[in-house]
């Protein structure tokens, strides 16, 4: 039998009429409970995925803001330093989209910390000592905003050092065992460099970004480092901050065309490979959690619709007897299921936006990559809502189809 648009429209009209009456005049307790379960299932899906998104976003943000900025130029593979670095930085700063750039030296050394100055309980740590030009560095990274004790370096500081809390060892550091186990502001730390030069420094500042890769660093000034290693106008790395208008890899081509041919050019992503692995793991976890959440919502709706249809088997039989088409009955239950899903999703979104997001902004979760808040991704939310609706359609269809296919006599009289 062919269906006309008029037939379809009329069937929809009757189905929606029945759903509207069932919801507005039906059992309020069941309605509220069902919506509560779908709301919680939805919040669970979004919350878990947004925490993971937040963690990944934070890790990426940390890498760019506090670790290596957006692009890193390293010396050519057979060179120890980048030469003519001042001229290079001047050229780089003319590139459209470049905010600023900063050069660093890196020199191996052994840090030595004698807290009581009695050669007892001396703490030593072999590490890569880095230098910064503070005036340039503050335009490229944000470490100056994460000082938890003391102050940031200034350009003319010669006997001062700043370090991340994972090096100092205090302030709740995670890697106590390999740290200086409690170097404080004003303490003296000596460094024996790889070239044999020995210098003493006062700890001027300690910072904490909550990002171990950034917090496992020690910085002195560029002027101090050049006096130690006896070079000038060179660098071990040049950090470039971009404005984000185009992906970073676009800049590699632009830098090459500027004449930076031999040096290695990398983007920040190349320095946090382990986080890419984490992203993949998180994606798997998100999929599992989403699947379980949808299953919970779907099964709940299925049970509600199943009980409703079983309890109303006789009425459904009578509706069929008086001439109601099975598809109208089935559609009415599907619409009811979709209603539960949509309302659950809407309530869930409200709770997330009004309560959870502001809460986690005020109280971010401390994680090994930083303080993490919820990062809501529109695409994820849209997909979750759509999935809930699809699941609810199935959950509404199956029980109603099972009951409506029953013979009228059997449905009414058993």
């Amino acid at each position: 039998m062919r269906l006309s648009i008029k037939d379809i429209w009329n069937d929809l009209r009757v189905s929606i009429f029945l759903v509207y009456k069932a919801i507005t005049r039906g059992n309020r307790f069941t309605l509220i409970l069902t919506i509560l379960v779908t709301t919680l299932a939805f919040i669970n899906i979004i919350f878990i995925s947004s925490i993971m998104n937040g963690a990944i976003t934070k890790a990426y943000q940390q890498a760019q803001e506090n670790y290596v900025s957006n692009i890193v130029i390293l010396p050519a593979t057979d060179e120890k330093y980048i030469t003519q670095v001042q001229q290079l930085k001047t050229k780089i700063n003319t590139l459209p989209g470049v905010v600023s750039c900063s050069s660093r030296y890196a020199q191996s050394g052994v840090l030595r910390y004698d807290p009581d100055k009695d050669n007892q309980d001396v703490r030593e740590k072999a590490w890569n000592i880095k230098s910064i030009n503070p005036t340039e560095e503050v335009k490229v990274t944000n470490l100056q905003n994460y000082m938890i004790a003391g102050r940031y370096l200034e350009e003319n500081d010669r006997d001062q050092i700043i370090m991340g809390r994972e090096i100092s060892g205090g302030y709740g550091a995670s890697f106590q065992i390999s740290s200086l186990k409690g170097a404080q502001i004003g303490d003296e730390v000596s460094i024996t460099y790889g070239n044999g030069v020995n210098r003493s420094y006062k700890v001027k500042g300690i910072y904490n970004t909550y990002f171990p890769l950034a917090d496992l660093n020690v910085f002195i000034t560029e002027k101090e480092m050049e006096s130690v290693i006896g070079v000038h106008n060179r660098a071990s790395e040049v950090l470039i901050k971009t404005d984000g208008s185009v992906p970073e890899r676009v800049y590699i081509d632009r830098l090459r065309t500027m004449g930076i041919e031999k040096e290695q050019i990398n983007v920040w992503m190349d320095f946090i490979g382990y986080i890419s692995g984490l992203t993949q793991t998180f994606d798997i976890v998100k999929s599992i959690v989403t699947f379980i959440g949808l299953l919970v919502a779907g099964v709940t709706i299925f049970i509600v619709i199943f009980i409703a249809t079983v309890n109303r088997r006789r009425q459904i039989g009578i509706l069929k007897a008086i001439g109601m088409k099975e598809r109208i009955i089935i559609m009415s239950y599907i619409f009811q299921a979709i209603f539960y899903a949509i309302l659950g999703a809407a309530a869930g979104l409200l709770i997330i936006h009004l309560f959870l997001v502001p809460y986690f902004i005020r109280h971010p979760l401390p994680m090994p990559i930083g303080l993490v808040s919820l990062a809501l991704v529109r695409q994820d939310m849209a997909l979750s809502i759509l999935s809930m609706i699809v699941v609810s359609v199935v959950a509404g269809f199956i029980p109603s189809w099972m009951v409506t296919r029953q013979n009228i006599i059997k449905a009414i009289w058993g």
């Binding site: 039998m1 008029k6 037939d7 009329n10 009209r13 009757v14 009429f17 029945l18 009456k21 069932a22 507005t24 005049r25 039906g26 006789r314 009425q315 009578i318 509706l319 069929k320 007897a321 008086i322 001439g323 109601m324 088409k325 109208i328 013979n407 009228i408 006599i409 009414i412």
Partner: protein, 211 residues
């Protein structure tokens, strides 16, 4: 083991007739009503309404035929509890695709006919058994059904409401020439019918002309 509920029944019903089908328990009277009402399929045989063999219609055609041509009153009222009396009555017309203005007017008229005009906005749970049965009758007739099937319509009613319902059915038959086929096991109810078909062991035992 198959059971022959009905064995070779043949009879005719005229338009406007009120037929009571009676017989002992297990005689096949409900089975006969279900067949006539297209709620069940005969193993063999035909059912003709206005010259059309309705027993040969497809499932969806039977659904459409029931909606358009037949009306039902069940033992337990069988109204939708989430709808009020008015909504229960206009539902079949809504299913037929009538505009809201038309089906509301028809429902109002039918409720007045069965004496439930003032209780139209009440939910079913707010109505007595007799009132519910009258609403069920209104619903059965709102689509101008050719035949009204009533399966023990007074079984759950007290004597006062039984009388009200039976008088209403008789009135519909007299004033609207409504064809009614009613199954009942109560002797006194047959007096409202024009004719009684007595069923015994799946066959028509005898016919009794009452009026």
């Amino acid at each position: 083991m198959p059971v022959e509920a009905l064995k070779g029944l043949t009879f005719e019903i005229q338009q406007g007739e009120f037929i009571a089908i009676m017989g002992p328990s297990g005689s096949g009277k409900s089975t006969l009503l279900h067949m006539l009402a297209l709620l069940d399929d005969p193993t063999s045989g035909s059912i003709f309404v206005d010259g059309t063999d309705i027993s040969k219609l497809s499932s969806s055609q039977k659904t459409t035929f029931r909606l358009n041509k037949l009306g039902y009153v069940f033992q337990e009222y069988a109204l939708l509890p989430e709808l009020n009396a008015f909504e229960n009555v206009y539902l079949p017309l809504m299913m037929l695709g009538a505009p809201a203005r038309d089906y509301e007017k028809a429902a109002r008229g039918m409720l007045e006919t069965v004496g439930m005009g003032k209780r139209a906005r009440h939910l079913i749970s707010q109505l007595s058994g007799g009132e519910q049965q009258r609403v069920a009758i209104a619903r059965a007739l709102v689509n101008k059904s050719r035949i009204l099937f009533a399966d023990e319509p007074c079984a759950n009613l007290d004597s006062k409401n039984k009388e009200i319902v039976l008088k209403l059915l008789r009135q519909l038959c007299d004033e609207l020439r409504q064809t009614i086929i009613m199954v009942t096991h109560e002797q006194e109810q047959r007096l409202y019918a024009d004719r009684v078909l007595w069923i015994k062991d799946g066959q028509i035992d005898r016919e009794e002309k009452v009026r």
